[in-house]
Amino acid sequence: MTISAERPTETAAGTAAPAGPRRVSWTNRPGWMSQHLGTALVLAFLGYLLGHWWGNHIAGNYHYINGASGQNSVADFLALLLMVVGWLVGIGALNYPIAKLFGREAVEEAPAKGMSRYFRYTLDHKVVGMQYVVGTLLFLFTGGLLAMAIRTELLNPTVHIFNPGTYIEIVSEHGTIMMMMATSVVVGPLGNYLVPLMIGSRRMAFPRIEAFSFWIFSAGYMVIFSALFYGGFPTGWTGYAPLQNQAGPGMISYLFGFAVIGMGMIAAGFNIAVTIINYRAPGMTWSRVPMFVWSILATASLLTLATPVLFSAGLFGILDHVVLTSLYVNEHGGSSYLWENLFWFFGHPEVYIMALPGFGIVAEIVPVFTRKPLFAYKVAAAGMMGVALLSFFVWQHHLFQSGINPDMRPLFMLTTELISIPTGFIYLVGMGSLYKSKMRLEIPMLFSLALYFNFLIGGITGVFLSDVPVNVTVHGSFFVLSHFHYTIMGGLIFAFMAGLYYWLPKMTGYMMNKKLGLWHFWTMFIFFNMTFFPMFIIGLLGQPRRVFEYAHGLQGLNDFSSISAFCLGASFLLFFWNLMYSMIINPKKAPANPWDSLGLEWQTANPVPLYNFERIPVIVTEPYRYSEPGAPAYADFGGGGSDGGSSGAVGSSVEE
């Protein structure tokens, strides 16, 4: 119903540019009086001050709330809450819902032009995608700097650079910032930018929700970063209670930060899932959907279904801090297991939120550079959906030694190991695609092959961890730490780099420099492995995570790992240098389709017009029909997809 209702409007908007006298909303008013990043920052600051004052006004004399830290948790929480509200008001995110609340007709905003649209509440999915690129890179850079600090402290087992409080603060911030970044690092930039282009849609289903997801994501960055000014939080990214209840005001930044980021994740996931299900071009049956879109659909489902649990868990924690409930305090009738279960019930699907988009990127890239159809397309799609489904049934493997009901352990061992079957599908697809191919070793392909190399180590060690007897030795040690860096960084971040090198020519119109790219790839690949492989051994030899003191005998391995980590950090500087050099200093215009891809996203004009497609394409065949003489083009841009026909075709494709 929505499809047929939407389509004519869209087509009309596309063919005839929006014109005529329209009231211009605040968001797009020209000049300094409009709403943009600057007003958002000002209102966020004012909201912060107001919240602080308000909290002190209503709860300043309440002894129990002030607690041992002497900080008023109510004021701390209200300050952050009103900061986020001020940020959203300032950027203009609330204009439309508030207008609707008062029964006023919503103003249709004229699309902003030029650079300024990147600093505004812009509804174009391509702008949101670019905003996310900058936002996630900022997250990545902050978290990376903190990682350098951790490795510096671990250079020596007994001589300390930071005091233990600062060290825990750094470790916790590194973990939390990186996890938050990793939830959105592909779905945000590449998912938002590319999904409509790849499914032949002119827009996202809910552009306002999409823009909201980015601006609340960036508010989350401010909230989690604010913990540093409150003395941090001592719990690591897992935030276990009752240490959480014991912690100072920085903990509120953590809890509220996850709640805020969680809202962004739910919004992003919901919008993208609905878009993929409902906005595919006519003829794009489920067996013709590009693999990247499959992976984003699986991820978006996880974002939508798993994140509400994290959101409520965070709110419970805030209640414990602010109004002194005892939901997580054993001695007062709560349960520390409640947090552990809620957190990991989100936390394990979260792990696959951080893996699936990477699989999608490589599955999309490998056929282009092997010049072959993707091997076993349906197995790949089944693998992604299978991983997504199973990921909801494994969370207690994080709690094997915690004192959970002991006979649940074989069950969770089984479900966890079962998840390697659909993950194995991804390898079947990748390896099968290499068979008798004609591989072009461009930078995106190198990063994709690196994912298969790294994730193999990460995945196999995951089987070791899921085995309860072995888990007794490796749980909570550097072995785990190395395992998830191999999957998240060795998998997702390598895939993200592959995606950036592959799609930035489309997104910005400029090619990344290949020579610098090669330097970046090889330093990142080599030093990544040199940093994290020794950590498996360090963990097996008995070093727990998050410690600042360790056995003297382990100093050699730790130093090796630290020095490699510094080189790994330098490889990221190479990447940033390449980004600046290729985009700003010496930009080289990209050809329309630099990789000879058959993908729909490369068939639109360059730069992509506002409404993406002059005509809605009709998908006529499977994707990835490389090296097949006489194969029809993937999409028909001709007169085939006229208005009346297209809605019907979409309807039938949805049923299939």
């Binding site: 719990t235 159809p373 091997f375 190991e417 079947l428 290499l434 591989m439 092959l449 007897p469 097949e628």
Partner: protein
């Protein structure tokens, strides 16, 4: 056409040779040195378990690596490499997909079954089993029940399990021996050739009792008794670390313990019991959990010896500081 069987034969041959060599090297050279060693029964079997998984994993890793390496060398975009055949000719053969799915499923399910057998057969493998363990060594549950009733005993002569309570707090471990008058020590000393029952609890936040060489790991939750077992095999020193982030000094929460011969342990225990008697008499009776009152772990009041961990305020009302 002629090429196809040769490619596969080459890869498979290389893979079989590499896997056999890799597995043999692992099993005989690396495996015996894999932690946690042989100090307890569960340590021994957990090491064995790790090595079983390793020799299963090595062929899988080699398969992917060799395949990728071979592809990189032979199937690059260079002169002499034929164009790949696209379309129908490149459709993935059904039998390859079916074989891959079946083989991975069999391997994975076999690993899960093997892990379950190892877990149950070795009485929980040294992991924390919560307050109601289901896989316990013979007599261990009875010994634990006796301890809570104040009837714990241990002598070097019989095969009695030894009950030790591990009390974690920020940032140290205390060990309590109900069989020796409830004495508390800061160092974990154990007899060899004995089933040990660890009752792990915490006074403040979640810690994790990790006796590395004993292959014992159990979270210490406040107000919860988490039971783990170890069957000591060798005498010697072992390391105890906290393995769950518990605040700023988590990194410094470690010490070492020792397994002694039964007679040496008995001598140490009776001597320490006598030495500590003047302090031990002020300790509360043995309970599975300690719950400090609102004053916190330091300087707080302990509950009485009831099985219920809670001490009602009216019991200690008189001792509460005036507010």
């Amino acid at each position: 056409m002629n090429n196809e069987p040769r490619h596969m034969r080459r890869i498979v041959t290389a893979w079989v040779i590499a896997s056999v060599i890799g597995d043999l090297l692992w099993w005989f050279l690396v495996g015996p040195h894999i932690p946690p060693g042989n100090m307890t029964e569960s340590a021994h079997w957990n090491q064995f378990d790790f090595n079983v998984l390793a020799v299963t994993a090595i062929p899988v890793v080699f398969m992917v690596w060799l395949w990728m390496g071979y592809a990189l060398v032979n199937w690059r975009d260079k002169p002499g490499v034929p164009d790949p055949v696209g379309g129908e000719a490149a459709k993935a053969p059904y039998r390859v997909q079916a074989a891959w799915i079946s083989i991975t499923s069999i391997v994975v399910i076999a690993a899960a079954i093997y892990g379950t057998v190892a877990l149950i057969g070795d009485h929980g493998s040294g992991g924390g089993e919560g307050p109601n363990p289901v896989w316990a060594p013979e007599g261990a549950v009875a010994a634990n029940t006796a301890a809570i009733q104040g009837k714990a005993t241990w002598s070097p002569a019989g095969h009695q399990p030894l009950v030790v309570q591990v009390i974690a707090q920020q940032w140290k471990f205390t060990y309590r021996y109900p069989a020796f008058g409830g004495m508390e020590t800061s160092r974990l000393i154990l007899p060899v050739g004995t089933d040990v029952v660890f009752d792990v609890t915490s006074l403040d936040v979640i810690h994790d009792f990790w006796a590395y060489q004993l292959s014992v790991k159990a979270d210490a939750n406040p107000g919860v008794n988490n039971v783990a077992f170890a069957d000591t095999h060798q005498t010697g020193q072992f390391m105890v670390r906290c393995d769950e982030l518990c605040g700023i000094w988590h990194g410094a929460m470690y010490n070492s313990g020792r397994i002694l011969s039964k007679t040496a342990f008995m001598a140490w225990a009776t001597k320490t019991e006598a030495q500590n008697a003047s302090n031990t008499k002020y300790l509360p009776p043995f309970a599975w959990t300690y719950t400090p009152d609102a004053n916190g772990a330091s300087g707080g009041l302990y509950p009485d010896g009831n099985v219920t961990p809670y001490s009602p305020y009216d019991t200690y009302g008189a001792k509460q500081p005036a507010s």
